[in-house]
């Protein structure tokens, strides 16, 4: 058995993993990054529209700051997020954009003078200030009060990941490509590394580490159609779950993006609507203002996706052999704008649909897009239950997003959390040592090898791919945008049956090295565990909050459900428990998001907290913005990121 040693093991080479690795390397720790694919091909590269940070340099960003970003994020989360984490995040996001600018991201810049923009399908002329010329600009995104989404055309994730990986290369951070972590090494209290399989040679080996960070991204592929890359399989999150010692959280909180193309499920960015694109139905009618007169297409994602589905159900969808869809119309933006700011979208339309988006409408439908849930961590990014295990990025439930994440807040989270959690990983490594327990390492190594041996030896059994396909179908049909008791109950039974079947997977290709069939066989039971968590969480939660929408329980029920779902894997099945969110600590007590008719069952403490907040605010009138904030809800942040963020023409 080969054993590698490192201070800081990072599983995942996307934005979150690389930024965490950079923090460690800068602190002179030994770092190892693992990735299924070359780092630059990680799914972060697919982010198109942009990254939120309240720089407030452009005309439509004026007046923006951490407070406004914070309020948008909390409202967007339907009060499900951890408000302290949201505060940390909003404070560091501008620094993250600026750091990436130093590292080479060619952020689009403010161009002084007049320009035409499209707002609510009307052309408006705005004048960018001379003082802002050349600073980083921003576009509009859904659910935000200001134009706050920084971008490079519609290849933002690509540019960010390029700069980030280049920085990692400069710092000589080793990225072991085509490696899959499969198991965590732990003694029930402390995580000390992982068991890894080399996807080329098939070698199984151990990496022993003082800190282990999971940054493996989302798990969209438990659904039939997803905007996620084919490698977004959730093995990283499942690995943590399988320890039985550390929980996943909010797995039922799954985001559906309004505009993925039909049938391929490839995303067209929210930037399309941010820049002025509209949604139309079979009659060519722009229907969103009928439902959401104020925000229309730029309501929060969960809202738009539901409205679209509702509209299709009313028979207003466009019929196609792949089911009904709606139209995304960006023709009003003009060819020049599309060629410059929406070129990936244009490429995708040309290659996958054979259409020209400057003249044709784009067929779109809400599609699985993002996992708000993941490995539960504290604000430092450390897992609950296992010391030395951290999680960051989409794989984590740091809990910035609660039950719905805002577009542009995710790539922002990856980098910001990488910066912040990275510091705490460093702190951990400096303060604790790892005892190398050889028999423990051997135990996990042997368990993994046995699993592989059994798969290779079993002569007859079920086919992993067919199990996966059935699982994906169940998730899409029964754990989708609208949920009800009956189908959810069926889904759980069916998923559990599939899980039993998955214990008898057999494969025909018996080689130990590069073997796609073996990879699938190792992956599918893990994916099923996540699917079971999501379905069980969705059934239990008898309310509607953010992206989790129960048709049989349409109100948001703060009284019963202002809490986070936690999932432990015990005795080979899921065990769900709940962690209340503390209203008395909230800077922003629960309120209405301002969409549709408000249906909220109020929490008994909400009123008291609202009064306290008003009192504190009244007594703090003379204080600065940040002093006032700290009176309401103090939060911690690593020392190196405490400075205020400078904005053009603003003192505080």
């Amino acid at each position: 058995m080969r054993i590698e040693y490192t201070d800081s093991l990072i599983i995942g080479g996307g934005l979150a993993g690389l930024r965490t690795a950079i923090a460690c390397k800068k602190a002179k720790l030994n770092v190892l990054v693992l990735s299924l694919v070359p780092a630059k091909r990680s799914h972060s590269a697919a982010a198109q529209g942009g990254m939120q940070a309240s720089l407030a340099s452009s005309f439509k960003g004026q007046g923006d700051n951490e407070d406004v970003h914070f309020a948008d994020t909390v409202r967007g989360s339907d009060w499900g997020c951890d408000q302290k984490v949201a505060r940390m995040f909003c404070h560091v996001a501008p620094k993250a954009v600026r750091e990436l600018s130093v590292w080479g991201v060619p952020w689009n810049r403010v161009n002084k003078g007049k320009r035409d923009v499209i707002v609510n399908a009307q052309t408006e002329t705005i004048t960018e200030a001379n003082e802002s010329h050349g600073l980083i600009t921003a576009r509009d995104f859904g659910g935000t009060k200001k134009w706050r989404t920084c971008y490079t055309s519609d290849g933002t994730g690509h540019s960010m990941l390029n700069a980030m990986d280049n920085k990692a290369i400069e710092l000589e951070i080793p990225v072991l490509e085509r490696q899959q972590a499969l198991k965590l090494i732990h003694d029930g209290k402390r995580c000390t590394g992982a068991i890894v399989r080399d996807l080329i040679t098939g070698e199984v080996f151990a990496i022993v580490a003082n800190a282990t960070t999971i940054a493996t991204g989302g798990f969209g592929r438990i659904y039939e159609i997803s905007t996620n890359a084919v490698i977004c399989d959730g093995v990283g999150a499942a690995m943590a779950l399988e320890t039985g010692e550390t929980p996943l959280a909010n797995m039922e909180a799954i985001q559906f993006h309004p505009t993925a193309i039909v049938p391929a499920g490839i995303l067209t960015t929210e930037g399309c609507r941010g820049d002025g694109g509209v949604l139309r139905d079979a009659d060519g009618h722009r229907f969103m203002p009928d439902y959401e007169p104020e925000k229309a297409e730029l309501a929060s994602r969960d809202v738009v996706s539901r409205r679209m589905t509702e509209h299709i159900r009313k028979g207003k969808g466009v019929k196609s052999e792949y089911g009904d869809h709606l139209w995304l119309d960006i023709t009003l933006l003009g060819r020049e704008h599309i060629n410059k700011n929406l070129r990936e979208v244009k490429d995708i339309c040309e290659h996958f649909l054979g259409i020209d988006p400057a003249v044709d409408y784009i067929p779109v439908r809400p599609t699985q897009h993002y996992s708000m849930g993941g490995i539960r961590t504290d604000f430092r990014g450390e897992s609950v239950g296992l010391k030395g295990l951290f999680a960051v990025g989409e794989a984590a439930c740091w809990d910035l997003h609660g039950f719905n994440r805002l577009g542009g807040n995710s790539v922002a989270e990856t980098v910001v959390a990488g910066m912040i959690v990275g510091q705490y990983v460093v702190e951990h490594c400096q303060q604790s040592n790892v005892d190398i327990n050889a028999s423990l390492v051997k135990h996990f190594y042997a368990t993994q090898c046995t699993e592989i041996d059994q798969l290779l030896e079993r002569k007859t059994g079920t086919d992993a791919l067919s199990i996966k396909t059935r699982m994906q179908h169940i998730m899409s049909e029964k754990v989708g945008i609208f949920r009800t008791n009956g189908p959810l109950t069926e889904a759980i039974e069916e998923l559990k049956a599939l899980y039993e079947e998955s214990k008898e997977i057999a494969i025909s290709n018996k080689v130990r090295h590069a073997n796609p069939e073996l990879e699938e066989a190792l992956r599918v039971p893990k994916m099923l565990k996540l699917a079971i968590c999501a379905a069980q969480g969705a059934l239990n939660r008898t309310e509607s909050r953010g992206a989790h929408c129960r048709e049989d329980f349409p109100e948001r029920n703060d009284k019963e459900w202002l809490k986070r779902s936690l999932y432990y894997w015990k005795k080979d099945s899921v065990d769900v428990s709940y962690e209340p969110l503390n209203i008395d600590e909230m800077e922003m007590p629960p309120g209405s998001r301002g969409y549709g008719k408000s249906q909220i069952v109020e929490h008994p403490q909400t009123q008291t907290r609202l009064e306290t907040v008003d009192l504190v605010n009244a007594s703090a009138e003379d204080l600065s913005r940040s002093e006032r904030q700290h009176k309401l809800m103090p939060f911690e942040i690593p020392e190196i990121y405490q400075e205020k963020n400078q904005r053009i023409g603003v003192e505080d």
């Binding site: 694919v37 070359p38 780092a39 630059k40 091909r41 990680s42 799914h43 590269a45 697919a46 620094k95 993250a96 954009v97 600026r98 750091e99 600018s101 130093v102 590292w103 080479g104 060619p106 689009n108 810049r109 403010v110 161009n111 010329h133 050349g134 600073l135 980083i136 490079t152 055309s153 290849g155 690509h158 540019s159 390029n162 700069a163 280049n166 290369i169 400069e170 490509e177 085509r178 080329i200 040679t201 890359a229 084919v230 391929a264 490839i266 410059k340 995708i348 290659h351 996958f352 054979g354 494969i507 290709n509 080689v511 590069a514 796609p516 069939e517 400075e643 205020k644 400078q646 053009i648």
Partner: protein, 241 residues
């Protein structure tokens, strides 16, 4: 719909006794079928051991380049309907280490290249730039120009289509030049023309290029390699003076 006939290169270098060969598969074409869909179908129904690489399946990440009917290109966004004949031949990208069948190790190649050409912003002062203060300004048009060169997805098509590279192992290729061209243009990178000359001003760099422009023809992102190479040549000649 047609019956498609795929001829796919098969070889597992790690399997003792295995030899490179072409294998034939038949498949019913479906509406909107891409090579991504076709290969997954073949793997699911006919050849569970077939190796290939897809990640984003949206033409964005550069994982899936292969030679399709003689042309290196991205398989995920190539629709089978674009071919008049129902015969489709697939080879792995030449010029890279073969992992098996259609899967090649472009990642290893690209990391080595990045290390070799110093593919990052070189600025000794970078650590002193405050990220709390207003960022350094940049002309909007310049930012867009830099982005244009930043669009490379390291798919490797240009490398496999390059006649010079086929003859000269160490030639940095269009991908290397587009990388350096970007940093040369970027005022945040403090390298001088002379610094760039060290890496580029030789037969393994711009002066080795035979200008056959296989790179330009095969680039799935339509990067303007021709202009870029000509520009760098001029720059490098000027650096001599």
């Amino acid at each position: 719909m047609r019956k498609l006939v795929f001829h796919i290169f098969r070889y597992d270098p790690q399997l003792e006794g295995d030899k490179p060969r072409m294998q034939r598969f038949e498949l019913n074409e479906t509406e909107g079928m891409s090579i991504f869909i076709a290969l997954n179908k073949i793997r699911a129904e006919q050849a569970p051991d077939l190796k290939f690489d897809f990640v984003c399946r949206a033409g964005i990440c550069g994982s899936c380049a292969m030679v399709i009917n003689g042309m290196p290109t991205l398989a995920c966004r190539t629709l089978t309907s674009t071919f008049d004949t129902p015969e489709i031949t697939l080879h792995p990208l030449p010029g890279f280490e073969l992992i098996g069948d259609l899967s090649v190790n472009t990642g290893k190649f690209m990391r080595a290249l990045s290390e070799r050409v110093g593919s990052w912003i070189h600025d000794e002062n970078a650590n002193n730039i405050s990220i709390d203060k207003l960022e350094e300004r940049m002309e909007p048009a310049l930012a867009e120009q830099i982005y244009e060169l930043d669009r490379c997805i390291e798919c490797g098509c240009c490398v496999s289509a390059c006649a010079t590279k086929a003859m000269k192992e160490d030639f940095i290729g269009a991908v290397g030049m587009i990388k350096l061209g970007k940093f040369e243009l970027d005022p945040r990178d403090k390298r001088t023309s002379k610094d760039f000359y060290q890496v580029l001003g030789n037969e393994d760099g711009v002066f080795g290029c035979m200008t056959l422009l296989g790179c330009q023809d095969s680039c799935p992102k339509d990067l303007n390699h021709q202009t870029q190479i000509a520009y760098l040549r001029r720059k490098m000649l000027m650096a001599l003076n």
